[in-house]
Amino acid sequence: MDDMMFLTFLATLVGAAWRLATPLIFASIGEVFSERAGVLNIGLEGTMLVGAFCGFATAFATGSILLGLLAGVGGGMLFGLVFAFFTITIKADQIVVGAALNLLGMGLTAFLFRTYYVSTGKGIEIAQPIHIPWLSDLPFLGEAFFKQNLIVYSTILVAILATLVLYRTSFGLTLRAVGEHPKAVDVAGRNVAGYRYAAVLVGTGLAGLGGAFLTLGHSNQFVEGITSGRGFIALAVVVFARWSPMGAFFVSLLFGLFYALQLMLQAQASIVVPYQLLQALPYIMTIITLVVVRGKGAAPSKLGQPYEMR
């Protein structure tokens, strides 16, 4: 490969990495909120599926991508409400409820898809890359950074907003306190359960958005299990990112790079590695990430524990 070809390859790789990281960015930043308030939502995978399906179904019916995205967020939050009711109000085990919601998300979306859509075989119009004058035409840089659709660009906004809310508002401060020392929040007269509900709804709304991106901004079809483990990978991203939204943004980009490498190397005829090894790359990297980054110290101290009011 000569230098020119390599640079083109690199530019395409970076562009694809950002695009493929987008669902992870939304889901993992959302999960940062949830976990900072002490709620571990392993039902993220099912939530993303619900978001992907709601987004697809709405765009299918209305032809509007914006309505589809809103439906994705709404579907995710509705699912989050179920999770919050069971884990915060009933105080059931978060892992058990999360596992149940993954089954429900998989089952419900596949059931409805097979009942209504699978025979139509039709796709939807997806969000198109926007052309930014001058910037998009830059050699290499244009391909890498300035040929994305609006949803991809919005990840930067979400990461900045999330950081501001979490570290610069009293809501964010209280939310973090709920995950570290809920009793102090309770004694201070704030509603612990209310903050946890809010955190879970932010988390699942963003996870729904991440799912909706898969059908509205990436593929133009819903496929059963379209998230293929991204909900679980997002959980590992949060650990690697040490529960920070900006960290989640960059770690997601790293995982996007693994996805992009996998796709682009598969397309390279000259590479002899079996494509399954490349397919397994994001999953293997997730495990390695958890081993290399031992972030227990940074975890919210009450992560996974229901709060018993006295």
Binding site: I42, V82, F86, I90, K91, A92, D93, I95, V96, V97, A99, A100, L101, N102, L103, L104, G105, M106, G107, L108, A110, F111, L112, R114, T115, E224, S228, G229, F232, I233, L235, A236, V239, P274, Q276, L277, Q279, A280, Y283, I284, T286, I287, L290, V291, R294, K296
Partner: protein, 364 residues
């Protein structure tokens, strides 16, 4: 002498009767939650069918009773119950030790791979040697695969929830690689392994039905695990570690060792289930050897309240639902994935009812 005997008898029998009565009434009370949970889940499934233009009563008439047509269909249910009981009972041990092994699906796949390897590469052994060898290979591979997640947990504090799920994907991709590459049957167009030699097949119970002795192995192992958990000191240690690792450490128990044992037991049973799928049912390795038994096993264990003995019943129930959903797909074109929704609802209802029961007990 006569009187003494009489006295002993009077003492013993009422005690035994009381104990039996107590056990039965406890069993009855603890059966209320799962039964109520299943009813709620079925009602939800019926509502879902009805809302989408299907016949809601099908859930009862077809899904539950529709699969009990004749001996053959009951045998098919038991065939499906085999992996569910094995995985469910194994997961009971892990969950009791508070190890969230979500990776039974992957452990099943590597068990199937190992069984296929032993069943296709060796020839000329007696069925008495080869069939058990295949099962052992499956169990060991499953235990080893689960052991990876266990080791990463005790050594690096890597969350086993995430690692076991990632290992699921890796095992499934590995299987796809093997049946399209190194283990592919060269003469076949479709990706599949060579056929296992006949001596490696799990013996059938009746020669003209697919049901094999795996169901007996599953029931025996479930009972054995129940005894192990309740009556052995190792089982006690596992439960203590699950309830309170700090207390366990303080009492001189090796927490890491117990965690490894618990996760490897659950992996071994899932691997064995994979071996049975290959050696007892398909006789070849395919890409989709499991329709999600590993995930369904989680619901089996939770419905059984992490009691391996009860996992026999809940495994049978989920197998019935799965068979029924297949019938329902054929008779009424209801997507078979309905069974996933019902599984999820069963878990949610179990959780909710258990909480309400605790509250009720507290008041009374």
């Amino acid at each position: 002498m006569e009187q003494v005997n009489q006295g002993v008898r009077e003492n013993v029998y009422p005690q035994a009767a009381q104990a039996l009565y107590r056990t039965l009434s406890q069993a009855a009370i603890s059966a209320v939650t799962p039964i109520a949970a299943v009813l709620v889940a079925l009602a939800f499934g019926a509502t879902l069918l009805w809302l989408n233009g299907f016949d809601g009563t099908d859930v009862v008439t077809v899904m539950i009773f529709g699969s009990f047509q004749d001996t053959r269909s009951v045998a098919e249910i038991l065939l499906k119950a085999t992996p569910l009981i094995l995985i469910g009972a194994g997961l009971c041990v892990a969950f009791r030790c508070s190890i969230w092994n979500i990776g039974a699906e992957g452990q099943l796949y590597v068990g199937a791979i190992a069984a296929t390897f032993v069943g296709t590469s060796i020839d000329g052994l007696s069925v008495w040697v080869h069939a058990p060898l295949v099962m052992l290979a499956g169990a060991l591979a499953g235990a080893a695969w689960a052991g990876i997640a266990g080791y990463l947990k005790v050594r690096f504090q890597a969350s086993e929830i995430v690692t076991t799920i990632m290992l699921n994907y890796i095992a499934i991709i590995l299987t796809s690689y093997l049946v399209t590459g190194p283990m592919k049957d060269a003469s076949a167009a479709y990706p599949q392994s060579a056929r296992l030699v006949r001596e490696a097949w799990t013996p059938r119970i009746v020669s003209d039905m697919r049901l094999h002795i795996g169901i007996l192995v599953a029931v025996v192992l479930a009972v054995a695990l129940y005894i192990f958990l309740q009556r052995s000191s190792r089982g006690f240690a596992l439960r203590v570690v699950g309830l309170n690792p700090h207390a366990a450490r303080y009492a001189g128990m090796d927490v890491r060792r117990n965690v490894m044992i618990a996760i490897c037991i659950s992996g071994a049973l899932a691997g064995l289930a994979g071996a049975f799928e290959v050696a007892g049912v398909t006789h070849r390795l395919y890409q989709n050897i499991s329709p999600g038994y590993g995930f369904e096993g989680i619901a089996v264990a939770l419905l059984a309240n992490n009691n391996p003995l009860a996992a026999i019943i809940s495994g049978g129930l989920f197998a019935t639902l799965r068979s029924g959903s297949e019938v329902l797909q054929i008779t009424s074109q209801v997507p078979q994935v309905l069974v996933l929704v019902i599984q999820g609802m069963v878990i949610l209802s179990v959780v909710a009812f258990a909480k309400f029961r605790d509250k009720f007990r507290f008041v009374a």
